[in-house]
Structures are given as C-alpha cells and as structure tokens.
C-alpha cells in the first residue's frame, strides 16, 4: 500500500486534533488548559505550550516571535576555565600577587578547597587588547584573538552553586538538582527541528571523561523523553544503534522494513488504530536516520583546507572534531548542538589541572577549533542565525589554591561562583560588546551582574521565545528554564 497516503492520513488526523473548534471544546472541560492559557491573555492569540504530537514530535514550530537565532551551538568547558587567565584582565591582581588575601574576601564564603588564609594570585599569562573592539584576551588564545570582533563577552555571569555538578546543572537546566529539562530540550520541545532525519538535540563530548552528572546535563527532565539530547560519538556507532547488526546489509534491512510495512498496513486495516501508521512512519524515519547520521558525522570528506582550519583529524574524539561536527549538524538543520570538553578544573593539585600545566594544553586544544568554528559559520552565512555560546559553570578565585592550608607545588585557583566570563556570537548578538565588569581582582561582579536566569532569558529571547511563556506544568508549578525568579533579557547584548 502507498505509504504516502498513509502518512498523509496521519498528518490529517493530527491536524484535526488541532482545529480551533476542537481546541476550544477541549478548553471547556480541561480546566488546567483554561487556566494556563488564560494567563497569557487570551488563548485565541496563542498557546503557552508547544503542541507537538506523538506522530511528529520534532516538526518545526514557530516560536513566540521571530527570533534572530534559529539554532544554537553551546561550547561548555567542563570544570570551569579560569577567566583570570583568559578574558578578565586584572592589573591590580598582578600587583597583589603573593600577598595574603584580605579577611573580608573570606568571610561568609564557602570554598571547595581553600583553607585558612590563601595568597592572592596574579594573572599567569600576559594579556593584550585585540580587534576593533579592543577585547582583552590572554596570549593563550592566539587564534581566538583574531575573531573577537564577532564575539560579545559577559564578564559578570553569576551562579549560586560552587560545586561542579550542581553548577553545571544550573547552566544547562536553571536548577541545581537533576530532573529538570536542559536548554536543548526546552528549545527542541518549543520549536522542533529542521531536519527530522537527524536528532534535533545533539551532544558531543571530548576531553576523555564525561561530565560528573552525566546525562542529567542533556536530560529532558519532566518534558517528554523524546526531547533529551542524543549523544553522537566519533568512535563506535555515531548514534547508539544506528548501524545494522553484523551481516545485515542495507538491502536486507530495506526488505525487512518493506515486509514490516506491508504487515503493519494490514494491521491498520484490521484494527483501525492510527498509532499503527505512526509506527510505520517511525521505522521509515529510522531508516533515513541510518543514512543521514553517519553522513553528517563523517568528517573525512571535508576538504583539506577545512581540516587545516579546525585542526581536525578524522576518527578520534576531540574538541576540534566536535566543532567541525557542530557546523555540519547545524548546516543540516539540527536545532541544538551541545559540546562538553572535560579537563578545565585548574586547582593545581596535579599536573593535568594546573594553570602552569595542563591548562596550557587545554587552551591549545580549543583555541584554533573555536576560532575556526566562528570563521567557518560566518563564511557560510550561518553565523547570522546560529547562536554560538561559550562558558564554564563558574569562575575561579583570584586567590591561589592552598589545599590543606599549604602552598602547593603547582599553581591553581579554587571555585568562585561570584563572577565568570561567557561569550556569545552570531544569532542576534551585537558583536564586539563587553557586558559587565568585575571588581579590581575579578572576584565578584561590580557592574551589571548577570544572574543565570537572565543569561537563559537572553538565549531564549534570541531564539524567539518569551521565557515566561515557555513553560510546562510540573509539581504544581509552571516550570520554566528561568525558574520562579524574575528574569530579564540582557538588552545590551542584542544586535
């Protein structure tokens, strides 16, 4: 039987469910629906809720208004890179280097590892201003320094968590506990994706370890689980189970699916359940995904010039590969690409996590690819509607870490939730801006602090969402990415 007509029937039924008459009739009994819609004014003017259906959970939906960003690439440096060695230049701190930390900095503060009275620690690398915008960047990021005019910096991002797990969750779900939807889930739930043959929300890992709270960072929380991030991998199956079992060729699989389709079509004739049509469509989509995912994930066909630009080497797991993959995915219509790069927790307790050790390697690993990503997106015309975001989960202290109260052999800094640097580019961001200022030593936000909920509200705004309206009822509350606090879009960052 003709699949097309079956699928058309599915679509038709879906549409029928969404006619105004049916919607209103639903409202007359669905009290919850009335109340929730009523809050946004009149429910005839628009819903607070995304209304995908099971048959088509990822179809592209318009957001609340026309946003400048259509998709997001989020680069998260897991472990919290030191803003004081990369972007937040503090000459005063340089002068204070080696002196005992004033008690006023320590009172009422919680630290993960600092004890007693630590010493102040000056910036470990020289800084210079770059580009027309005059952005300060240290010498650790020579490639990135060349693209600063495309970027806007937030110097005063704040969180209320000073441990990695809760703080990473804060960045990605707005809550410090696991069980809440991540930004990517909210966004794909709200607006679907542009290529249903690929996952709408993709997660790419590098750095050798996964973040400590694991999949909770790309969980769909209480949203339907279909909106959880899908991890794509450079090694092994690019997406779990995307390869056929050994000895099953694509031809055999096609025949298998043809038989399934024939038998399921008869099932539909026998029982009349539209879910059966949904199932047929699901298997066909899976078949297409089996082609589309490996194709998107195969960077080997990229020209040498691109490999040179990113510093990529096909076949291994690296941040560079992931940046290139991110570009390939957004180019094909993936809505949200989340990169996690592990290894930025520069306490100084060991070589790999010392500012004068592994930190330098981490900078080298990310500098060229992240600059390349911006360059490549720009020259392909993708940067204007792709939002690129870079951050850690908190900042690092202007004090030198003194684990167990003793000076350590290597140099490091402890966790500091008071202020840290993030940058954004493309997708409706005004380029070349530096927003917010920290105090003389980069310890706390002095001018224009940016609490996490404002950061989230801004991201949603760029995508075309009113953060107050992108909500979902759970545990008696209209849950939002921005939580119950009054969040504000950061106007100063908007183009």
């Amino acid at each position: 039987m003709k699949l097309e007509s079956l699928l058309n029937e599915t679509r038709l039924r879906t549409l029928e469910h969404e006619t105004r008459r049916q919607f209103l009739s639903r409202c007359t009994t669905g009290l919850g629906a009335m109340f929730l819609a009523g809050k946004s004014g009149s429910f005839a003017s628009g819903l607070d809720y995304s209304t995908h259906d099971t048959a088509n959970p990822f179809n592209a939906l318009p957001p609340h208004f026309r946003g400048k960003a259509k998709r997001v690439i989020y680069l998260h440096m897991i472990g919290a890179p030191s803003q004081l060695e990369l972007f937040d230049y503090k000459p005063d701190l340089e002068r204070l280097d080696g002196q005992a930390c004033p008690q006023s900095f320590l009172e009422g503060k919680d630290f993960a590892f600092i004890q007693g009275t630590p010493n102040m620690l000056g910036p470990q690398y020289p800084f210079k201003q770059h580009g027309k915008s005059g952005a300060w960047v240290s010498d650790r990021l020579p490639f990135f320094s060349k693209v600063v005019d495309d970027v806007s910096f937030i110097k005063t991002l704040q969180t209320d968590q000073f441990n990695h797990g809760p703080a990473q969750l804060m960045v990605h779900s707005g809550q410090a506990r696991i069980g809440y939807p991540s930004i990517g889930s909210w966004v794909t739930w709200g607006m679907g994706t542009e290529n249903e043959d690929l996952p709408g929300f993709v997660v790419l890992l590098s750095g050798g370890r996964q973040p400590r709270v694991g999949k909770a960072l790309w969980s769909s929380g209480f949203l339907p689980s279909v909106y959880q991030g899908v991890q794509c991998r450079s090694v092994g199956d690019p997406v779990l189970n995307v390869s056929n079992p050994e000895g099953i060729s694509r031809d055999i699989r096609r025949s298998t699916l043809d038989t399934l389709k024939t038998l399921n079509t008869q099932t539909h004739e026998d029982f009349g359940d539209p879910e059966t049509l949904t199932r047929i469509a699901q298997y066909e989509m899976a078949f297409r995904m089996q082609m589309a995912v490996p194709d998107a994930m195969d960077i080997s066909k990229e020209p040498a010039e691109v490999h040179e630009l990113y510093g990529t080497a096909p076949g291994k797991e690296s941040f560079a590969n992931n940046c290139l993959l991110a570009r390939r995915l957004v180019e094909r219509g993936t809505r949200y690409v989340q990169l996690f790069d592990w290894g930025w927790d520069s306490h100084g307790a060991g070589e790999a996590e010392a500012l004068n050790g592994g930190f330098q390697d981490k900078c080298r690993e990310v500098d060229k690819p992240m600059a390349a990503l911006l360059t490549d997106l720009k020259r392909r015309g993708l940067l204007e509607d792709t939002l690129v975001v870079w951050s850690g989960e908190f900042g690092r202290t202007p004090m030198r870490e003194n684990r167990n109260g003793r000076e350590m052999k290597l140099i490091g800094r402890d966790h500091n939730p008071g202020a840290f640097t993030a940058w954004m580019a493309g997708g409706g961001i005004k380029p070349g801006v530096t927003y917010g200022e920290t105090d003389e030593v980069g310890y706390s936000a002095a001018v224009n602090p940016v609490p996490m909920e404002n950061y989230h509200a801004t991201m949603l705004h760029l995508l075309g969402f009113d953060h107050k309206k992108l909500n979902y009822p759970f545990q008696g509350l209209d849950q939002r990415l921005t939580g119950v606090k009054d969040a504000k879009v950061i106007k100063g960052l908007l183009a």
Binding site: T28, L31, F35, G116, P166, K215, P245
Partner: protein, 958 residues
C-alpha cells in the same frame, strides 16, 4: 493516542463535554461554577492573591463575606444583593469584572450558571476530590447482557448516552496477550495460547477467570506492578548528584515486588512505607519498607553542604508523599497558598514536620542503615536482636545519663588550648569555668590540644571528665544549624615537669544520646566508634569520659587532653570542635558504673552478645527511616517564600484542614498517625488515587486523566461515579486488596472487548476514554525488553537480589566515579537476561533502552509516563545488541524448535508474537522475505524473520 507530548494538564478532552450537561440536571458548584471561577477570577481573587480580601478558593471569603465594597460577595438566594453578580453584569466599565481591558468578559452561559447557582442557594459543594466517596447506585443499561459486573454498567450507561455501544469480545489469543502483558508484563507462550483457546471456546467466562487467577498468582505479577510503584517513589540504585555513587537499596525494590505478590493490603503497604520504623516492634520488612523515603537524592561531591541536601530530601519526601498518595500538587504550597485549592502555605511546613526528624542527613554512608539477612528465616531473629539492642542500649545509657544529670560537675579553669595546625584557639573565663573557641578560619583535621594544670582539678581524685561542645551561636543554631563536629579519637596523658608522659586509659564514655553515631559505654578510639554532631550541630552536646582509675595529679603536673576531629565534611568543611568547655567530677559512682558486679553489668554483657550475634548474620544493607531522639528534635519553620535559608514561624506537625474536615486524624500527630490518616475510613483521596493508577495502567488513560493532579486544576473524571464505585470497592469491600480490585477491572467486559476501532468511533473518542472498544497500548520500556527476552526463550527466571548489568552499548558507561563498574555477564549467564526491573538504575546514566522508551530516570516522583514516538525506538528494537541477541535466539527457535514447513513455522511464530494466526497474505509476505534473504545471506534468514516478528506493530502493542 495523540495526547502524549502535550503537558499533562493539556490532554485533549475531545467533544464529549458537549453532552455532559444532559447527565446532570442541576447546577453543581464544583462542576459548573468552580471552572468559571478558576478561569476568570482566581488569578486576582485566589490563593496567591486575594484582591479586596476576596478569594474564590475559600467559601468563607465569598458566601456572605463582605469584602471591601461592604456588601456580600455572594448572598445565597439573592442575586440582587450579591456584589459578585453585579460586578460580572454591570455596564460600568470601572466596576465590571473581570477587568475588560485585561480579560475577556464572562459569556452569557457562564453568567446564567452563576445566577442559577446563587438563586439556588449558592451551595458550596467543595471540590469533588476532597469529599469522601460513597458507593453510587448502579445505573441501568440496555447492554446489560454484555456486562460482566457493575463496573461495566457504569461504562455502558455512559456509552448509551453518547450513542455508542460496547464492542464484541476480543479474539482469544489477543485477549490472552492483553491479560498476560497487562497483569504480568510478559506475553503468553505457545502452549498457554493453545490451552486458553480450547478453554475459551468451551466456556469463555470460566476460562478468563481461571487464567486471570493464574496470572495474578504468578511472581511475575509483582515484578510488573512494582515498576509503576518504583516510578512514583523514585527508586534508583544510585544517589544522584555529585558522584552518583552506588546505593545499596535493592532490598526495598524486592520488598515492593513481594508486597504486590503477597497481596499486602494497600493500607498496610502505605503505613509501612511511611512509618514502618515507628510501628511497635517493627519487623525487618517494616523497616525495609521505610527505604521508600530514602530513595531521595543525596549529594556527595566535595564541598557540598549536607544540611542543604538534607532539607532538599525532606522537601522531596513531602512532595512525593502528596503526589503518590494524594495526587495533589502540594509542592505548590511550598512558597504560597495554593492558587486553586484550599491548601495553606503553613500547612506545607506542618506536614514537613512529620519528616524533619529522621536521623538521615545526606551522609555518604547513607546512615542509618540496617542489615537485611540473606536468609529469610533469620528475619525474625534479626528484628528481635535489633529491637533488643536498641532497648539495651537505651537502658544502659540511661544509667549513665542519669548519673551525668545527678553529678555535681565542677567547671575547669586555667585551660590552655591550642591546635595541631594553623587553627587558633582563644580561652575566656566564664562563670565557673573556662570556655575555648576558635578564632578566624578553621583548618580541616583540627585537634583540640587541651592542657589542664593540676591546680585546676582540685585535690580530690578525678573520677570523670565532662566535655561540653557548643555551637558558635547556640540560639541561632537550633533553626539554622552550623556545621557540626565529629570526635574520632581521644588521647589523654599526665605530663610531668620534665615532659614525661603517662598515658591515661579511659574505661568508658557516656554520650548524650543512646546511639548515633557512637554506642554508649564504648570509648572513642579511632576505630570507627565516634561521637559528635554529624553533619550539623543544633544543640549543645555532652560527653562523659571515665578513666580506668581515678586521676590524681601531682602539683606541677599537667593533664594533656587531645581531641581528634579528623573528619572533613564533604571535602572541605572541618568537622572540628569550635567552642567547648571541660568539667570534672570526683563522684565515686562513676568509678563503679558498668563494672562487674554493678547493676548495669549484665546488660552490658547481654548487649555485647546481641551485637555479636547480629553482626554474624550475613545480609545486605538498606537505608531506613529512624526518628531522632526527642531531645535532639529539629524544629520546623516555615521557609519564607519557599527559601530554606530564610526561616519564618515555628510550626508543629499537622494535616491540611480542608482534608481533616472530612477525614479527621487521631492525635497526637506523629509520622505514624500521618501514615494511618492516609488510609483512614473517610480519606477522600487515597483509594481514588490508587484505583485511578490501576485503571491507567490497564486502559492507558486514567478515569482522571491527570494522574498527577486531583486538584481543581486537574482534569475531572470522565466517569465520576465509576471512580467512586471502584474506590469504595477497593477500600471497603476488598479491604484494600490490590489483587482483588485489579481482578475486578480485568474481568470487566470493557477490558475484554475487541480493540478494533472504526473511523467514526475514532473521530468521536480518539483516546478511548469512553471504552466503546478495548484498550490498545504501546508496550512499556520494561515490557518491550522483557517480551523480547521471553519470546527468544533467553529470559532468566531468577528473582530479586542485587541489580544486574545486562549488555550495554560500548561507550555508554562512563561513570564519574570509576569504581562503579558495569560488568556484563557472559553469553549464557542468567544474569544477562533478567527481567528489566532488576537492571541497575543509575540516575546519571539511564539505561538507554529504557530512556528511549520513555521510562523516567527516577530523580523525582513520576506519576505518569508520557509515551513518545521516535526513530530511536525503532533503532533499539532493530539494532540494539540485546534485541539482536534475542532475535538470533528466536530465529534459532524458529529453525529448530518449531516444526513443519516454512509456512507452518511462520504461522506459529506469528501467533507467538501477536496472539493471533496470520492469514495467507501475511504468510505470503513473510515467505517472500524468507526467499529474498535466503538468496543473499542464507545464514541470516531466520534472524531477519525473527526481527520482523519482534518489530510488528501488533507485537509492540497489546
């Protein structure tokens, strides 16, 4: 169903409602008026905001209530005197409600309803779910000959009104599949299908009753129904945040399975899980049941604050209890009064007080724990030993504690206190004694090195020393406890002028609590016997130390007393004594206390034996609930605007008044009484909520579709009388018998009828809420995997025990704590093929198959699984290694176990997969595939055919 991806309260209710009024002649407040109020009025006149003091959530703020305008909001029987009616009908734009510039005005129908309601006496019936259900009269129906019981009559009566009729009975094979998967989560095998077919033709009623009784009595029954419960109580084998380290708590999972299999009545099921530890002489099972409350997340990342996460766990217990037993969004009330339902902000904290005094406090070792004997025959002995130990400890401790209180302690002055590190101590003289305290930052592993000159101890020999530890700010610490301290070792010696040391041995210590964490009468000695306030100090704490022989110091000698506090609270917080005093006594009763020949000595011996015997019983640990002693009880305060950091008024344990009005509780209220209250005679929620969950499991959608919300903002029951009928049946007629109520539901015609649907019926009732046809449901995550294992013949029959680690795709298992290993049993090992419920549940790495098929990851109570449709599901059942291994095994069965021609084998296999025999067209199609694959890869033929059978829509639904 097309509902699934909408938010829960948004499930479409189709056009059924248009017919509803014909069923009800009179205006009913809850049904007709409250929705109007909730939609149009409560945003400003509700629980959160009550403009002009008017709140449409509370009767006494509306009926005969004079708001700011001076006239009654509603005057019963008198529309003209009712301010409300004037406000919704006036032409004066300034007075009109709702305000026309912000809100649509009320429709004429709504106004007519309000008028009728006021004229009829403005009866405030209250929300239906807050009224005790009573058994409604059974309606008549013209389809009576098809009804198998009263349950059907309620459904049929409604069908009649909607112009529908019930369907005919499902074919026997498909019916058996539905019953089998619905009751046990596993499909029938071929011989079961054959036997049932014969019996069904003979006498279908008897056949169905027999097979239901058989299925319900199988151990697989408990495994299937436990899944539903474990979603609610957020069961997992790991702790959550931080390291997400392994938590040994599977004894609780097994308890739940067993409770369903033993048909433990739901009232006992409830009481044991909420307060089993408070039952008189609790059994091992009673204690294991309380682990229900210990499924909360803990955080053991370095540098985290245990108190914060302890409070989070308590909050989660409150929310989960109300969700699970009451289907109410009580979490709402944490920050303010409920916007729609008459539940008050302070009532949240009154309820929280029930849970605030358990001994657990987010510690990495999950204390308190008990050991559950491996051998069930030792349960009674272990429970008796535990009880005996608790009583002995208490009684031994009382003899020491009594003496501590009687002793005339002398404050010690002249203390010199320093530390072993950079921490600084100061000493000040207070009334009668010296007090030492830390200054500035405190380092971890701080020891208090206290020197006491002989002169400070007086002339008489010292028989006991009393160490008093205070919070830095004793008043504030009661409600906002400071980081505590933990003494893990003590050293004392007498030092002479030349610095020569003579060590002092302590014979016993008497802590100020009979347990937690140290034992009474055991000297703290660095071997795990410790004492302190872990992890928080609320109150002043005291410890008596009794030397082996009374101490007599020469002049110029010094008593050097070193207290070791080496524990670091979560990575960085020093668990040090920051403020304290020392006292001494020369009372000779201390020297005799607990010695051979003393009154307590036999009990001490008995205790030692009991402890030895208990520790010799091998078993597995499980975290439990345990009440802190009253003297250490934590006070409960309202959190201002839900913020735990800002404590408001002190509150005491209590239950919401709206509910105690209809279901009074017996005082005095403690956690046990709270548990009993949920299952008390008149409770309006518990039985309804549970039968609704059962209904949703079996029919795919609840009678109240919003399983998570029975409040007035949730959806209303499609069949309110049926819901009440079932609730009363369950609670009264079946005395909370779970199997009995499930049996009644599956024996109904509604459950047995064919699921075939016509386009017309689909148009009228797409979600099958009226049940003019039988249910047709997607398999749950567990069923998808278990059915595949069962059909392949690989499924393991072992039940219970430590969670298992079935095959996992490479690269998925990358736990943060690398010691948590995923070691997959070899091919052929039974543990590789166990039922899904036994798979290790790690919160930060959900098992991919389960996550893909919509199982929650168990951080919070999940009342309802939303089913979704994604290509990733097809990729699992086609390509995942477990499914491929099963397909290979099924393929081999087709090839070797089944007999006959290819066609005959396929007929049998199709029946195994779907419950029904394939027709010739279907077989032709399968044979076609057989031949096609055979031509290309002959060794894959049966694998491919098995894959087709395992992936049929009919196979993946039931």
């Amino acid at each position: 169903m097309i509902v699934s991806l909408r938010p829960p309260t948004f499930a479409p209710v189709l056009a059924l409602s248009a017919l509803a009024p014909t069923a009800y002649p009179e205006v009913d407040f809850a049904r007709d008026i409250q929705p109007i109020l909730n939609q149009n009025c409560v945003e400003c006149h509700g629980g959160v905001k009550a403009a002009g003091d008017v709140s449409f959530v509370y009767e006494d703020r509306v009926v005969n209530f004079e708001g700011k305008s001076g006239s009654p909001v509603v005057k019963p029987g008198n529309v003209g005197a009712s301010e409300m009616f004037y406000r919704v009908t006036t032409d004066d734009e300034d007075d009109l409600m709702p305000p026309p510039d912000e809100h649509e005005t009320l429709s004429e129908e709504d106004i007519a309803l309000i008028e009728e309601w006021i004229e009829g006496g403005a009866k405030w019936s209250g929300h239906w779910a807050f009224q005790t259900p009573s058994k409604p009269p059974v309606p008549e129906t013209k389809f009576d000959d098809q009804a198998t019981g009263d349950l059907d009559r309620f459904l049929f009566n409604r069908l009649e009104k909607e112009g529908l009729k019930p369907s005919t009975v499902e074919g026997s094979g498909r019916l058996l599949r539905r019953l089998s998967l619905g009751l046990t989560g596993l499909p029938p095998n071929v011989s079961e299908l054959n036997a049932f077919e014969v019996a069904f033709e003979n006498d279908s009623q008897v056949a169905v009753e027999n097979v239901v009784d058989d299925l319900i009595s199988r151990p697989a029954f408990g495994e299937r129904w436990a899944s539903m419960w474990l979603d609610l109580v957020r069961y997992a084998d790991s702790g959550g945040l931080g390291q997400d380290q392994k938590r040994t708590i599977w004894a609780y999972r097994d308890w739940v399975v067993k409770a369903f299999n033993d048909d433990l009545p739901f009232d006992q099921f409830t009481i044991k899980q909420l307060a089993g530890d408070l039952l008189p002489r609790p059994t091992i099972g009673d204690l294991v049941a309380t682990a229900c409350q210990r499924n909360t997340q803990t955080n053991d990342e370095g540098g985290t604050d245990d108190e914060v996460f302890r409070v989070e766990a308590v909050v989660d217990r409150v929310n989960t209890t109300w969700q699970t037993w009451g289907s109410l969004t009580f979490g709402c009330v944490q920050c303010h009064d409920h916007p729609y339902d008459p539940l008050r902000n302070e009532e949240y904290y009154q309820f929280m007080a029930f849970y605030n005094n358990s001994a657990d406090s987010d510690l990495s070792d999950e204390a308190p724990l008990i050991t559950v004997p491996d051998d069930v025959r030792l349960y009674n002995e272990a429970a008796a030993l535990r009880q005996g130990i608790l009583e002995l400890k208490e009684s031994i401790w009382e003899s020491g504690m009594g003496l501590q209180e009687q002793t005339d302690w002398r404050g010690v002055k002249g203390l010199k206190v320093k530390s072993n590190n950079s921490t600084k101590f100061s000493v000040v003289e207070k009334l009668g004694h010296d007090e030492f305290f830390t200054e500035g930052t405190v380092e971890t592993k701080t020891h208090n090195l206290i020197d006491v000159p002989a002169a400070s101890l007086g002339d008489e020999p010292i028989t006991a020393l009393l160490l008093t530890v205070l919070p830095y700010d004793p008043e504030a610490s009661v409600s906002n406890p400071e980081w505590g301290f933990l003494v893990n070792d003590l050293e004392a010696s007498v030092v002479d002028q030349n610095g020569e040391k003579e060590p002092i041995a302590f014979r016993l210590s008497v802590p100020d609590v009979p347990w937690m964490p140290t034992d009474p009468m055991n000297v703290i000695e660095g071997n795990g016997k410790n004492w302190g306030a872990d992890s928080r100090i609320h109150y002043t704490r005291k410890l008596v130390l009794v030397p082996e022989v009374p101490l007599s110091l020469e002049k110029d000698e010094v008593l050097a007393f070193h207290i070791h506090c080496d524990k670091t609270g979560q990575g960085s917080h020093p668990m040090a004594i920051q403020r304290g005093q020392l006292s001494s006594s020369s009372d000779m009763r201390w020297t005799r206390l607990g010695k051979k020949g003393s009154e307590t000595f036999p009990r001490i011996e008995e205790l030692a034996q009991a402890l030895k015997r208990l520790s010799d019983i091998p078993g597995t640990t499980v975290p439990i609930m345990h009440r802190r002693p009253d003297k250490l009880a934590r006070p409960t305060h309202i959190f201002e605007r839900g913020n735990a950091m800002v404590k408001g008024d002190l509150v005491f344990a209590g239950l919401p008044k709206t509910l105690t009005k209809v279901a009074p509780a017996n005082g005095p209220l403690d956690r046990l009484e709270m548990a009993r209250w949920w299952v008390s005679d008149n409770h309006p929620l518990t039985a309804r909520v549970f039968v609704n969950r059962i209904w949703a499991q079996l029919f795919g959608i609840g009678i109240v579709p919003t399983l998570e919300d029975f409040g007035s903002s949730g959806e209303k029951p499609t069949h309110p009388e049926l819901l009440d009928y079932l609730a009363v049946r369950f609670q009264k007629d079946y005395a909370f018998g779970v199997k009995a109520i499930i049996r009644e539901v599956v024996l109904s015609h509604a459950y047995r009828q064919s699921s075939r649907v016509t386009p017309e019926l689909l148009e009228q009732d797409p979600d099958n809420r009226l049940l003019a046809r039988g249910p047709r449901l997607r398999l749950t995550a567990e069923m998808v995997r278990d059915q595949t294992l069962a059909m392949s013949g690989l499924i393991g029959s072992k039940r219970g025990g430590s969670p298992v680690h079935p095959p996992l795709p490479e690269g998925v298992w990358r736990p943060f704590a690398s010691r948590d290993k995923w070691e997959t049993p070899e091919v052929g090992d039974e543990d590789r093929y166990r039922r899904s419920i036994y798979t290790y549940v790690k919160r930060t790495i959900p098992f991919p198959t389960f996550a893909t098929f919509d199982a929650p990851s168990r951080e919070f109570c999940s009342p309802r699984r939303l089913s979704s449709n994604t290509p990733l599901q097809a990729l699992v059942t086609l390509n995942d290694m477990v499914f491929v291994e099963c397909a290979e095994a099924l393929g081999k069965r087709l090839e070797s176990d089944f007999s006959g021609s290819t066609e005959e084998r396929l007929v049998q296999a199709h029946r195994l997969a779907t419950g029904r025999s394939a027709n010739s067209k279907q077989i032709e199609e399968l044979v076609g595939l057989h031949d096609e694959v055979h031509a290309q890869s002959p060794d894959k033929v049966w694998l491919v055919l098995a894959q087709v059978l395992l992936n049929l829509d009919e196979t993946l639904t039931y």
